[in-house]
Symmetry: C2
Subunit: 353 residues, 2 copies
Amino acid sequence: MKICVLPGDGIGVEIIAEAVRVLDALKSDGLKMEMEYAELGGCAVDSTGSPYPEATQKLARAADAVLLGAVGGPKWDVLPRPQRPERGLLGIRKDLNLFANLRPAVLYPELANASSLKPEIVSGLDILIVRELTGDIYFGEPRGIAVEDGKRVGRNTMIYNEDEIRRIGHVAFKSAQKRNKKLCSVDKMNVLETTQLWRDVMIEISSEYPDVELSHMLVDNCAMQLVRAPKQFDVVVTGNMFGDILSDEASMLTGSIGMLPSASLDQNNKGMYEPCHGSAPDIAGKGVANPLATILSAAMMLRYSGNNEAAAVRIEAAVKKVLAAGLRTGDIWEEGTKRVGTREMGDAVIAAL
Amino acid sequence: MKICVLPGDGIGVEIIAEAVRVLDALKSDGLKMEMEYAELGGCAVDSTGSPYPEATQKLARAADAVLLGAVGGPKWDVLPRPQRPERGLLGIRKDLNLFANLRPAVLYPELANASSLKPEIVSGLDILIVRELTGDIYFGEPRGIAVEDGKRVGRNTMIYNEDEIRRIGHVAFKSAQKRNKKLCSVDKMNVLETTQLWRDVMIEISSEYPDVELSHMLVDNCAMQLVRAPKQFDVVVTGNMFGDILSDEASMLTGSIGMLPSASLDQNNKGMYEPCHGSAPDIAGKGVANPLATILSAAMMLRYSGNNEAAAVRIEAAVKKVLAAGLRTGDIWEEGTKRVGTREMGDAVIAAL
Ligand SMILES: CC(C)[C@H](C(=O)O)[C@@H](O)C(=O)O
Ligand SMILES: CC(C)[C@H](C(=O)O)[C@@H](O)C(=O)O
């Protein structure tokens, strides 16, 4: 298995280091992996002028999977748009055709207190958000800011064709089949025709999955229901823009976004794996960042792109053991637990493997 | 003051009746108001074929304010788009140029338990969401579903010009001046050029409000921060689409969306006033709906379009008294309080005036 490792910016470097050490530990147990490093985001802009340079493209395209830390930071926010770190992220998603973004929002029983919601509302929470990642208003044309009749006008285009909707729909239905067989498709069909088509296509393909119960919800209502009663959901599928908002809202319900991994897959289970959280420039370089979301992303990588469920479960079990033992980085620390740094947390996971 | 009353569909009829009775009670105390009724939404489709019929347009245009119950219901969801109740709502907003939607999310201390969030996270919550209401992807052209190269394609257009952004910006800054002088503008400037223009214009006009502290937040982060620490916000300003999602999320933080009013204003403080909740077809006609959001909408009407702060405060104080006395409709009922119906709740508010 060929892995392209992209530490990225901010805490990315530190958290990736721990995930790689965990993978190395499995390697010495016989797991075959080749890792090569490249640059994405702000660091790539600094060294090459582009947030997704050619060398990275080459490596990423040739790999079976990409493991990413995080990109971005205030330092690069002043650059022209094409050079901003986010462009690297959007570029690699599009380039590798990673249309299916899987974002679990899971509450670890040990971290139940971290949630801002009442325990009875979130205990046992286990939602999977399936977000379309290479279409929608993120990539639609025409777009831009122009001067028309002497006024500046900003314009973007929300667009989906039925094939794009169908392929993410199939991923979502299949995910639901492996879980509790409930799929909620989120749209704004009462206002947006694009999402009326979305709903139509979801209904069309649902006949291929008679064992999955499909429901529909408007995006504004979904934003409410996630706060009111999040456990009503099993799998949620939605477009790129709504998925961006709802998946972040859903992760925050757990109170520990530093724990949540994500996978972005193409048609053939090649994927990019990264933590849900960002590059946290404020704590970068201090050795205090939580590496667990990245370590769990590595587990997802072994599961989906490596087709190695056993190795994935082994990592996940090790993380649970470490939590049960009371080890916590600063973001999830509470009275009565032991505060550790990034490196110590990595050490503990490796010891628990 | 000429008021156009639109009961609408579902529970709309029942809750509007109570709000009108409260206004009538003030009338007998000397407040001058003329009320005329018209149809909007599903009921209008049933009787005229259009969700925003001409007779309603005439009355609404001539009035100083519109008081609306709620529109919509499953019965009309099968109709062609132009005849759906929502079209009536979008139609009247656009027709009357009601570009500024003010949605307070306030936690009543008596209802603190109703929230799904921990008390320390939401106690004292008092946010105002200012949502642009006549632009954005809601109204942008081109739009629709077309067949291209043999595939169905759905398309919508997000669009704002600088004047549209500026006028909602001014409303938001002025609202912040009357509150805690903090304004957070929400966009997705790292992806959408439309919202880059949004941010630029907010920064430009901020120099006219040196007493207001302007900050910016990405929409995905805002969806998280509302869950994590909602009390960090005072006034939030955003576009129509993001505002739809975030204002519903924010209202649900209070756990009692049946309590929350809203105002939609034009440039001259003519406005439409309605509860944040919908037409609740499941409980329509049963006399159990909570009329307080509509009664509080009537108070907002007196404040903004009637320029009568005293009368507004009188209604709001009466509502607080009724809550303090332990009266609750089913949606906010809890052990130890007295469950009442729609009519009884109206009676109690009138008695407390
Ligand atoms: C950084 C940004 C472009 C990105 C997105 O909006 O997709 C991020 O918010 C995410 O969710 O991965
Ligand atoms: C009914 C619908 C068209 C409307 C909207 O999306 O604006 C509603 O959700 C609202 O927020 O008032």
